[in-house]
């Protein structure tokens, strides 16, 4: 019978031979170096060969990650034995950079926002093809949310839609009334009366989207680009701070550093639940978005599909949605979503999402290189 020996034993035997004088120093160091080189070369491809004991998930952190951990990942691990290791990111741009620098299989599932992000990953060759037969719970998802992804990846899917929400206007009712918000809408972010108490996300898409609204243009088809940049500059000059994460957004509003900003619907709902008198309003053509659970090329597909199916199970999906305060992608015409979800901001009881305006991926990705660069300059006073 042959006995398998581990690497430590191999090293000890080699070292013993060297110490006994059976092996000269050059051979010892050569063999040792070759072993190190072999390990280094093989490491990037280990993901393909190893048995799947864990899957890496990256998301937005804060209450969103907590909701996923408690309601999806821990129960999934208990059921399957597959551990879900979760990391966080501050934004899609930051994350795509990390994925680009990684080895295949290092990152597995990401909580991406917007169809434009999905299209960017596809453009970089990072999409894969999911076996939908292994994700039967996909049948409960709002068809409109699925179709937009299929259009990008030629009918197949590299993700499953998971939730949706809006980036609307959040305001402190102690300083700004509901009437003032209704009257000024998106233009309140460039209102001199609130100078030094205005915030905004340091995301070029959001800045340009709201600049479109402030200049009376279609966010998915700006005709006067320079007017938009002027609006972005006006906002910059009145703003106290660009926030970079959901936690920072909540902190700035809760500490009353700022009185008005655009904000993510779920995070504002969380603030309201904490007892802060923060109002939330989606202006006409407000920024709607849908989030998906995206599987990155090189990931262990079967384990990922199993996790996605588990996450889309109505009981799991509803629990996560209630925890993170974003409506789930489940179709309310097919699934009873309970009592809390219909009260969440941006919730659409019809399941058609006709009341929300989403970013056109072709339009926004077409401007991504130029506008992200220009915003970097405008942001710094140019």
């Amino acid at each position: 019978m042959t006995r398998k020996i581990d690497d430590t034993t191999r090293y000890e035997r080699l070292r013993e031979r060297y110490m006994n004088g059976d092996l000269d120093r050059r051979s010892f160091l050569g063999l040792f170096g070759a072993a190190g080189a072999a390990y280094g070369l093989v490491t990037p491809y280990r993901a393909f060969a190893q048995s799947v004991s864990q899957v890496r998930f990256d998301g937005w952190g804060g209450v969103v990650s907590e909701a996923l951990r408690a309601n999806a990942f821990d129960p999934f691990t208990a059921k399957t034995g597959i551990e879900v290791v979760d990391g966080t990111f501050g934004g899609g741009d930051e994350y795509i950079s990390r994925v680009k620098a990684s080895q295949p299989g290092e990152y597995n599932i990401a909580h991406l926002s917007g169809v434009f992000d999905y299209a960017r990953y596809h453009g970089l060759g990072l999409t894969t093809k999911l076996n939908e037969e292994r994700i039967p719970n996909l049948q409960y998802v709002i068809p409109k949310l699925v179709d937009v992804f299929r259009d990008i990846t030629d009918g197949s899917l590299s993700c499953v839609p998971y939730d949706y929400g809006t980036t609307g206007l959040a305001y402190n009712r102690k300083y700004i009334s509901d009437e003032e918000m209704q009257e000024k809408g998106a233009k309140i972010l460039i209102d001199e009366a609130h100078k030094g108490k205005i915030g905004g996300w340091s995301d070029w898409r959001t800045r340009m989207w709201y600049a479109s609204l402030q200049t009376g243009q279609d966010p998915n088809g700006v005709t006067d680009e320079e007017a938009c940049w002027d609006a972005v500059r006006a906002h910059r000059d009145l703003a106290l701070k660009y926030w970079g994460s959901g936690a920072e957004l909540m902190s700035l509003l809760a500490e009353e550093e700022i009185h008005v900003t655009e904000g993510w619907s779920g995070r504002i709902y969380a603030l309201q639940e904490q007892g802060h008198d923060i109002g939330y309003m989606d202006p006409p053509n407000g920024f709607g978005w849908q989030e998906c659970m995206f599987v990155i090329k090189g990931s262990p597909l079967e384990a990922c599909e199993e996790l996605l199916n588990f996450m889309l199970d109505p009981a799991t999906s509803i629990a996560v949605a209630e925890g993170q305060s974003y409506p789930p992608a489940l179709d309310p015409q097919k699934v009873d979503l309970g009592e809390k979800i219909p009260t969440l901001p941006a919730f659409d009881p019809t399941g058609t999402l006709s009341g929300l305006t989403f970013a056109d991926p072709d339009y926004w990705n077409g401007h991504e290189a130029a506008w992200s660069k220009t915003f970097g300059r405008v942001q710094k006073g140019y």
Partner: protein, 288 residues
């Protein structure tokens, strides 16, 4: 092998781990960055391999980058001066204290036990609208409305001073600690006042430490990006923030590489000038 040959090889054997680490963790990535700086970013965000000078042309000729670079050097210079003014008396006090020197040095090192980001963010709780300082000023009736003290260039400098002050104090302390106190006594016995003996004896002898601390504060301050990100307003970005944005936000690794090399060359030139006139020995003492 002869004894001489073995002795000649010994330093290289001892240096091998350090040289390997520097080569693998610094030189090789640096070569990658140099190569990247000549590539291009395509519309999808993928890199176009080749030899293009576009990034360098943009980095060197665009006024935007030059302005932010000068602004960064200005902020780093102000920070260094503030650190020197605040750090020298503290270092002098520690160097001349008897008995409790170790405790004072330990207290100086204490902030390093806490994450730099946490230390930077702590200013939000101190200077914020509902922070400790505003609450105190309002409770004693000095102000009626909270003051806006955060998210401007002053708070960026404040955060940098908070981060860099220990480096200055340590370098000056090492220098002062090495000065024979008999020299001051000799100056006093020859009729110099305490102030004169400090100005004419102690200060000149401690200048190498001050310069070493200044160099460290300047280089570290000019290369930071967390502090302006956390404590700065919309216009308070520093050069490292441009590198971050190019690489992370714009997914333009080639341009980000060119910008990072530009900053490296500027700061490297300062280190070279320092080395030319003062030598690195003092810096090593301070770091040690």
């Amino acid at each position: 092998m002869s004894v001489e040959a073995r002795e000649a090889r010994q330093p290289w054997i001892l240096l091998a781990p350090a040289i390997s680490a520097v080569t693998l963790l610094l030189l090789v990535p640096l070569i990658f960055i140099v190569v990247y700086s000549f590539w291009l970013r395509t519309a999808t965000g993928a890199d176009q391999v080749g030899f293009y000078l576009d990034n360098w042309q943009e980095a060197l000729t665009d006024r935007f980058y030059r302005d932010i670079l000068f602004s960064t050097l200005r902020i780093a210079a102000i920070t260094t001066i503030v650190c020197a003014l605040m750090g020298y008396p503290a270092a002098y006090f520690i160097a001349r204290s008897r008995g409790n020197k170790v405790i004072l040095l330990l207290l100086l090192m204490l902030p390093f036990w806490i994450s730099y980001i946490i230390r930077t963010m702590s200013w939000i709780n101190i200077l914020g609208v509902s922070g400790a300082l505003n609450t105190l000023l309002m409770s004693v009736g000095i102000i009626g409305e909270p003051l806006n003290m955060l998210y401007n260039e002053t708070t960026v400098i404040l955060g940098l001073v908070h981060f860099l002050l220990p480096f200055m104090v340590l370098n000056v302390f090492v220098s002062l600690d090495g000065i024979d106190t008999n020299l001051e006594d000799a100056a006093n016995s020859l009729g110099a006042t305490k102030w004169q003996s400090f100005i004419q004896v102690t200060l000149p002898l401690s200048l190498p430490g001050l310069a070493a601390g200044g160099l460290l504060c300047f280089v570290l301050g000019a290369g930071t990006y967390i502090t302006p990100l956390v404590l700065g307003g919309p216009r308070d970005a520093m050069f490292a923030n441009l590198v971050f944005e190019a690489i992370i936000t714009q997914l333009n690794w080639p341009l980000g590489s060119a910008l990072s090399l530009m900053l490296l060359v500027v700061l490297g030139a300062l280190v070279m000038i320092y080395n030319r006139y003062l030598g690195m020995a003092q810096l090593m003492k301070g770091l040690g």
